[in-house]
């Protein structure tokens, strides 16, 4: 039956096919070459890792648009730490991300500041501090970090993180709670579940993953300038939504949707660039695509709700 098909997923598959067909034609076949595909995979890895963190926040129906600034800050600190002790690179980046995440989670869950506004404030202030610190310098990454920019390392790390996050999201109480918060926060409160605690944890996890993404971001670019990571937050959010994660969160949040969405959003950008579209035009198309996707996502989920009163009416006069 139609009911069994996940409509959001269907939307993503349609978009994928559309993007592939259109760009394969407009790029005169340059889209699906081995080199370009490797390039797409390489580019989407950072987005996917950041998305693995954001998925908990998205499941709660919240947002965290600090991905870019957290990744940049964590990346720069990780590079600085790596110069003296390479072993501490990952812990340092994760700790920086954790602090950002805890702060946002605390502001959101305890002071009830909407996550979008709270993370926007952190984004602005954090970016300012970052620009002030880096100023016009370029902070180069040491060789150890640059060595991480290899698919042989990146793919196993992504796989490992995906399994870990996938496990938490699908098979643990925590994963079920965050999805339930996205469905109906009040109901979760009435179940006696400590919503505040799990919200803070979700934001903390998103921060940690942004931190890890920061290492790979700096490894790929070779160094950090003050613009490092700008626009990443939107890329990560688009990856989730284009993959079919419902905008309002909930049980439709699945890990494979992100793994589908991350390459898809990179593919969209890559296809536009290869077709000779100018930079601003690419951004314009991306913006419009995001709007369309979010609209579709909300729309597809609404249909389910509208069905409810009808069936209730139909069943009430009949047998119990």
């Amino acid at each position: 039956m139609l009911r069994k098909i996940d409509k959001s997923l269907l939307m993503s598959v349609v978009i994928l096919v559309l993007v592939l067909v259109v760009f394969q034609i407009t790029t005169k076949g340059n889209l699906l070459t081995k080199r370009n595909l490797l390039n797409i995979i390489n580019q989407s890895l950072t987005t996917a890792i950041a998305g693995l963190g954001l998925i908990f926040v998205a499941a709660m129906g919240g947002t965290n648009i600090t991905a870019g600034v957290v990744a940049a800050t964590a990346g720069v600190i990780a590079v600085t730490v790596a110069r003296t002790a390479f072993a501490l690179t990952f812990p340092a980046a994760m700790a920086v991300g954790l602090l950002f995440g805890l702060f946002l989670g605390f502001v959101n869950a305890v002071f009830k500041v909407p996550s979008f506004m709270a993370s926007l404030a952190i984004l602005i202030a954090g970016r300012a501090a970052f620009v002030w610190y880096v100023s016009s310098r370029i902070i180069f990454a040491p060789m150890d970090i640059l060595a991480l920019n290899k698919l042989e390392y990146k793919i196993p790390i992504l796989a490992l993180l995906t399994i870990l996050i996938g496990y938490i999201l699908e098979y643990t109480p925590f994963g079920n709670y965050v999805k339930a918060i996205g469905e109906n926060e009040n109901a979760v409160k009435f179940m006696g579940i400590n919503v505040r605690r799990y919200k803070i944890w979700a934001y903390a996890l998103s921060g940690i993953m942004f931190g890890i993404a920061g290492i790979f971001l700096i490894a790929r670019s070779g160094g950090a300038s003050h613009t490092m990571g700008t626009g990443m937050e939107m890329q990560v959010m688009m990856a989730l939504f284009i993959g079919g994660v419902p905008v309002q969160g909930g049980t439709g949040t699945r890990i494979f949707k992100l793994l589908f969405g991350a390459p898809l959003i990179v593919l969209l950008e890559n296809g536009l660039v290869l077709s000779g579209t100018s930079g601003p035009m690419t951004q314009l198309v991306k913006g419009l695509a995001l709007l369309a996707i979010v609209y579709l996502s909300v729309r597809l989920n609404k249909v389910e709700r509208l069905r409810e009163p009808k069936e209730q009416l139909a069943s009430s006069p009949g047998l119990s």
Partner: protein, 191 residues
Amino acid sequence: MALLFFQKTIFTPLYGLNFKNRGAYVPKDRDDHGLMLNASVRDNLLVPSARRLAALKNAFGFIAPKRVRALTKEAVDTMSIKTHDANIQKVGSLSGGNKQKVSLAKWLVQNLDFLILDCPTRGVDVGVKGYIYEKMLEATKEGLAILMITEELAEAIGMADRILVLKDGAAVRTFTRSEGFTEEKIVEVMM
């Protein structure tokens, strides 16, 4: 019996506090406070039991799919919830009576010590109403204590061992079944 005074805000003392006895509150506003309408029957049943089912009862413990299936089956069978597929069907697409069965089933499978039911038969058709009463009595026989908050006098007279009348934020009087409930006596106190 201090709990009884908190009719409107009864959940406040409930969560956050450590009761020695395990209990739950089934809210009056089923759709907004009780259920996740857009989630499947399975997910609605799973969330309150998640911690109990998980390995080590930890928030990051493994919930075996086998145990989720068993829980869903048990809940659907206990309350005979009419659903074509509990894994897929959204609670929002169930009838009012079946929705209420889901809200009750998710707690009844947990073997709790007490349940606070806030207007459990509100917006439920007559057949299911009787069924819910039946299940409540069955559960009390197995040792569950039920505190039912109700706006229907007949329901209280029919079901309760003790009736506590609340008026203007205070408990006015307690009636017990042994002294005999009559509508006139109770209404007199309520007025």
